[in-house]
Structures are given as C-alpha cells and as structure tokens.
Symmetry: C2
Subunit: 233 residues, 2 copies
C-alpha cells in the first residue's frame, strides 16, 4: 500500500493533559477551549486569510499519545458500555490505522502578531500537544447530511450524570481557578469520563485538567469533586 509522509502544520494546546477526562467527541463540551499555534511565517499568514471568527472548522490531526502498535481492528466502544464489539471503521476509536482524528470546532479568535499565529477554538476533544495536519472550513452544503448516527450508537443512551457537586475543600480551590474552569469541569463530569466497567464501583478517580489535579467519586445522586490541587503551588 502507498506510504505517505506528512508534516504537522501546527500544534494545539488544550487543558487535557492525559486521555482520561477528554470529551468523547468534539462539540460536546463547549467550555473546552484550545489554541492552535501555526508556524510564524508568511505562508501561515496567507493561509488563514478568510477564516471567520464565529464559523466552524474541521481539524484533521494525529491522535497524540496513542502507540502505533495499539491499533485494534475490532474495538469495544465506550458508548456500548465496553461490552459489545464494533469494527474500527464503524467507530471513532483513536486506536486505528494511521491514528487520524477529525474534530469540528468553533473558531473564536484569531491572533496574528509578530510572535506567531494562534487560532483560539472551542469544543475541543484533543490531548494537549496534538499535532494538527489540516484545517478546513465547514461547508454546510457538503458536510451536513440527514444521516443519523450508526444504529449501534442509538442502542446506548447518552445518559448524563444528574448532579455534579463539590466538597468544601474543592469549592475553596475553585475560587482561584475561576468560574469558567468550574463550568468546564462540570461539563466533563456530566459526560462521565469513567470507563464503563468501573461506573458501579465506589471508587475515587483522579486526573489532570489544565494546572489542576482533580479527584472525584460517586455521590448519592451523581459525582462529587472531592479535591482540586493546583500543581503550580
């Protein structure tokens, strides 16, 4: 088969420092923002001409932190509770040949200065440091279709966690982290980042989000954030 060599056109910075906690698709968490940094040269300046703040753009990227040897042709999608199998071409699993990802994000701001060119986007589901291979405008007349999602997805409800609560200690830390960070954290936890087979356990989970170590555990009516720890302090 044909072998092809590509070069990243830029790199995205996001609050997602590890795979745990990343939204399972783009557009699900609107407070999840990222900054794409393009090469600081005239080509990039020419290339962004006509990109419109407020429009949506496709990002084609290579999944970061996914080993080539981890490709699985038969996968167990989280949406199916990790039980049933599906073929990799019928899923958006990152453990796929070529490890290409496709995400639709909203363009919020364009910075074009001597220091560099930065595209601020919203609704991201990319690991911090992911190499970006292409940016394309969303074209409603070609990209929008009446297809629903595959029927195997419909079998599984998109059940959101009903209540996200915060311990007193976590609330104290959140004052410094800010309201946007709190909303982002709530959005992420509502989608339940826990592996499907561990959702019944009374177990604490921890993950890094931006500069914070987050711990959470099941509560009587949802999930409770027990601790936030600022890693820079």
């Amino acid at each position: 088969m044909t072998s092809i060599e590509l070069n990243a056109i830029g790199c995205i910075a996001t609050p997602f420092k590890e795979k745990f906690g990343i939204p399972r698709q783009s557009g699900l968490c609107l407070k999840a923002t990222g900054v794409i940094e393009l090469a600081a040269n005239q080509d990039s300046r020419d290339g962004i001409m006509g990109l419109e703040v407020g429009s949506s753009i496709w990002l084609i990227f290579q999944f970061n932190g996914v080993a080539e040897c981890s490709t699985k042709y038969s996968v167990r999608p989280p949406r199916l509770g990790g039980q049933k199998k599906a073929g990799v071409w019928a899923t958006r699993s990152p453990h796929r040949p070529n490890r290409l990802g496709l995400s639709l994000v909203a363009l919020e701001k364009i910075e074009n200065s001597k220091e560099g060119i930065k595209l601020h986007v919203r609704g991201v589901d990319l690991l911090d440091g992911t190499p970006i291979l292409d940016i394309k405008p969303y074209l409603a007349y070609a990209d929008r279709c009446d297809s629903t999602s595959p029927s195997w997805l419909a079998e599984q409800q998109f059940k959101k966690i009903e209540k996200i609560s915060f311990s007193d200690a976590a609330n104290e830390e959140l004052k410094a982290a800010g309201e946007d960070f709190k909303i982002l954290l709530e959005e992420l936890l509502e989608h339940d980042p826990r592996p499907a087979h561990q959702r019944e356990l009374d177990k604490e989970f921890s993950f890094q989000l931006a500069d914070y170590d987050i711990s959470f555990r099941p509560s009587s009516d949802g999930l409770e954030v027990t601790q936030l720890k600022n890693l820079n302090c």
Copy 2:
C-alpha cells in the same frame, strides 16, 4: 514540525480519470459512485464490522495527482469565479499542505468475499485511484452543526446550468452507455466543470469519464454534449 508516516488503507476506483469534471465537493452528484477496495485480510474483515449500508461515512484521503510542490497558501477558489483570493485554510483546495481531503459519502453496498473487501459508495468527488487513509462513521451529534458555509462562499451563487442537451451522435452512443451514465453526465455538467474564466468562451471542452471521452460546448440555453467516444472500442 512533527513528521508523520501514514499508509493507505485502501484505494478508491471512480469514473473520474482526470481532474476536469470531478464534482467540486462530495454529495453534489449522487450518481457519482466509487468502490473502495480494502486489503483482503482478516483485519479489514474485522474493521468493517458494524458499518451500515444506507449510512454516511467520512473518507480522509490524500488528493491524487496533486504535486507536493503545487501547495498554494493563497488560492483563487473556483466558487469565487477564480478572481478573489482566500487563504488555503479557509478553502477546500487540493493544493494544500499535506494534500489531505475530506469527503462525506453514502455507503451503498458492502462486498466481503475471498477475493477482497469492497465498499460501494455514492456522492464521490475523488479521482480514480486515490489512496484512502481513513474511514469514519458520520456522527450526527458531533459532526452536524448550525454553522453556515463561510460568507465568502455565499457571495457566489451556486448557479446550475439550465439545460444539458445531447447531439444525435451523442444520443446514439448513450444507448450503449446506459441511463445511469447519462444521468451522471447531466449532473456533472449542470455544475459546470469549466474554469470560471473560460465560461464565456464559445469553446469545446473534452474530458474522460469512466470509459468515455466526452466533448461538450455551450448551446443557446446551456451546454450540449457533442460527442461520446467509447475508449474501449
């Protein structure tokens, strides 16, 4: 910047033997069909499990027949009549860094036999022989958005050619080519494949479509197919 090596997962056969005449996006010409041939092995058999006939799939591919050195960061999109400029990231031009393409096609039939695995798709805009890098299911909850197309596209009307007619000689050849081929040809010509700056000329154009050499020219109320020549005869 990061360098990345990819391998084609398959190759698509389409009626488009040259760039002239290819629909300017996927989904525009529903009679434009293609057949993706995947490697005839167990991995491919596992990978297609759960793909559903009647659903839509994304193809990520590398534009075929586009030289790496032809990358233009500032392009003149055909939709703007070839006059105004736009940055490559604001367009779907094939002359882009990494030459990646993204097309949404309808999956019509899956052939899974000892000889190989073939996915029959509809609405293609890919050159014959294009290497396919990834196949993903269309996910309505992540891929559909309310964004319209970029406003610079809205400036240009999507004017279709009003009438496609056929000379007596062309009509005679079409009897052998079949009704589907005629409809495909009509669809393609309705979208006017001529370069914007040559649309006012009283000039004949020729291009290859499947096994036919097609010639057409302006008529009083549209375009007339003057000749079809079966290249296998």
